[in-house]
Amino acid sequence: MSAVTATISEDDMDAVQAKPAQRDDGAKLGFRLTLPAQILVLFIAVFPLLMQLYISLTDWSPLSGLGWWSAWSMWNSFANYTDLAADARFWSALKRTAIVMIVCVPVEFLLGLALATLFADEFPGKRIFYSILLMPMMVVPAVAGYMFFMLFQSGGPVNDILSSLTGSPVTIAWLSDPTLALFAVMVADIWQWTPLMFLILLAGLVGVPEDQIKAATLLGANPWQRFVTIVLPKMKTIIIIALAIRVIENFKIFDTLYIMTGGGPGVATETISVYIYKLTTQDLIWGYVAAIALAILIVLSIAAVFAMKRMARTAEMPA
């Protein structure tokens, strides 16, 4: 903040009051005002990106004894990228990440939307339920991971509940079974992030003009028709935002999952983030890690650009 304040020197104040004919002064002032922010962006985004690109073209590892800037001596051109294309473990991790996303995000969306619809109306105890509902979101993901790790133990509460429901003892080894482990991990993600979806969608829902809904009712639309023809179209922008946030976040799913399964059994729950984490901390091949991270960044960026374009289009026709 102090840097920003300092930039508005007396010269600049004069420039503000200068004659409007001198347009360049305005542009210059604008540049100077945004300079601190631009320098900041340079250091937190552009510099690491270039560094990453540089390392990704080498075999550099922190064990090599060289500083990262000397990585050129281990130059391997595009070997990391060709390795990546042939890395079956990478592709299966990518596929697994996609499966988690394809299941979790729609489930979170539908649950969130249903809850938001419920909470748009008044009912007794609404405030209490509202607070309870938002709690999972505020739990530290690592803690949530530990919670679900305990819940899904073969002698844990989930099996206890199933036992009392079925009447016979249930001892499912949730986290040791490849399929069930993935399921358990998704349950944890849905539990933790449905509230966020709910919160965003509720904000969108209460923003739908009341009188347009009344007008639709007076014209004979039933509740479902009103929802489809008025409420959903009005919420389009916010729905896209909510989905974009969750898709991007879900792609990076890590902490809860890592604590619950560590990516196991075997590699059954190994997602992209878990794979990268293992390569970074166990295999220590940072050149390769940089290549993977960059490849994913490019893929996510392309996806984000598409989403933003879509959003800009919707924003052009205000609700």
Partner: protein
């Protein structure tokens, strides 16, 4: 086509009584204005007719049919909202066709009806425009068309002109009135603007504090206000009201206005209707029905302000309790500080009981 009967209608919101009791018969094809200041219960009444609110007591009949329990989408009522509530994410065509589409009408049928209504409202060239960037008079027509396509027997309009600037309001008033002639539906029009009510309505129902004050044609309400509230509320400016006592004089029955002196004698028919009254009264006369005289009998008052509004000039006279206004031609030769003698036209004088506020009439 449908008449509306409101019988002992009551609406309470918790402890607050929005509508004390209301009986009103609106004839088939009539343009009825519900007029009153904000909080008088007019919108509540309208919302109950539309089915948006349930009455606390009493009945609403459309023709012979009791509307109790009939949900708002099934009453055959067209409703135009204050801000029109146009579906901004749709085109004009989709807005107009919304009702039939929701009722599952066939595509060809919808197109035909939308085409017809658009032609009638001169919206045909705008059919494929998005509804979020239309001017307010187009929005009004879309709102009316969207309801009219359902061929409702009853049209309810909730202050549709209150968001419109003054210059445009006159245009839209004319347009609305013409549309009503075209559709021939029963129309109920809620407004706080007495000019809108006077210019458009067949009859006006004046409301205040949840009570229906008077029902009548615009001229009836203007000429014979039932009480002090209506006398002040209707007309621009409202009726002049001066407090005084009835007294006999050698020229006939007069009102003694205290420091202002005596009024000219009351005309015989009015005198006959109030002769038996006692106590304080209000002497009322319209600002437009006053002549300036050189010498009495009349009300001699100092000019305090002269308001020139073009075609006419409004002259303010007197102060405090005895302040009155008089409307003259624009070239009236009065200036602040001068004393003028006003002679209210005898037949326009009205007498109100000061205790009850009611107009005194022949029994």
């Amino acid at each position: 086509m449908s008449a509306i009967h409101l019988q002992n209608l009551v609406k309470k919101f918790g402890d607050f009584t929005a509508l004390k009791t209301m009986d009103l018969a609106i004839a088939d094809g009539e343009f009825m204005a519900l007029l009153g200041p904000s909080g008088c219960g007019k919108s509540t009444t309208m919302n109950m007719i539309a089915g948006m609110e349930e009455p606390t007591g009493g009945k609403i009949l459309f023709g012979e049919r009791d509307m109790a329990g009939v949900p708002m989408g099934r009453r055959g009522v067209g409703f135009v909202f204050q801000n029109y509530a146009i579906f901004t994410h749709m085109t004009v065509r989709q807005n107009l066709g919304y009702g039939p589409r929701m009722r599952g009408a066939a595509r060809a049928e919808i197109d035909r009806r939308v085409g017809a209504i658009a032609e009638m409202l001169q919206l045909t060239p705008l059919l494929d425009r998005k509804a979020d960037r239309l001017s307010v008079n187009i929005l009004q027509r879309v709102a009316i068309g969207r309801s009219a396509i359902m061929e409702p027997a009853i049209f309810l309009l909730d202050e549709p002109l209150s968001n419109v600037d003054a210059a445009f309001r006159a245009v839209m008033r004319t347009e609305l009135k013409q549309l009503q002639r075209q559709f021939k539906q029963t129309m109920v029009y809620v407004t706080h603007d007495q000019l809108e009510a006077m210019t458009m309505a067949d009859r006006i129902a004046v409301m205040d504090h949840g009570v229906l004050q008077q029902v009548g044609t615009p001229l009836e309400v203007y000429n014979n206000p039932a009480n002090l509230f209506i006398a002040r509320f209707i007309g621009a400016p409202g009726m002049n009201l001066l407090k005084g006592w009835l007294a006999e004089s050698d020229r006939g029955l007069i009102v003694d206005l205290g420091p202002l002196g005596a009024t000219p004698p009351l005309p015989d028919d009015i005198a006959a209707s109030v002769r038996r009254a006692r106590g304080e009264v209000f002497y009322g006369f319209r600002p437009e029905q006053v002549t300036l005289v050189q010498r009495g009998p009349g009300l001699s008052m100092p000019v305090t302000f002269v308001e020139r509004i073009g075609a006419r000039t409004i002259v303010h006279l007197g102060e405090g309790e005895s302040a009155v206004k008089a409307v003259f031609d624009n070239d009236v030769g009065l200036a602040i500080g001068q004393t003028a003698i006003l002679a209210p036209a005898a037949q326009s004088v009205r007498i109100f009981d000061a205790a009850t506020g009611r107009a005194m009439k022949a029994d």
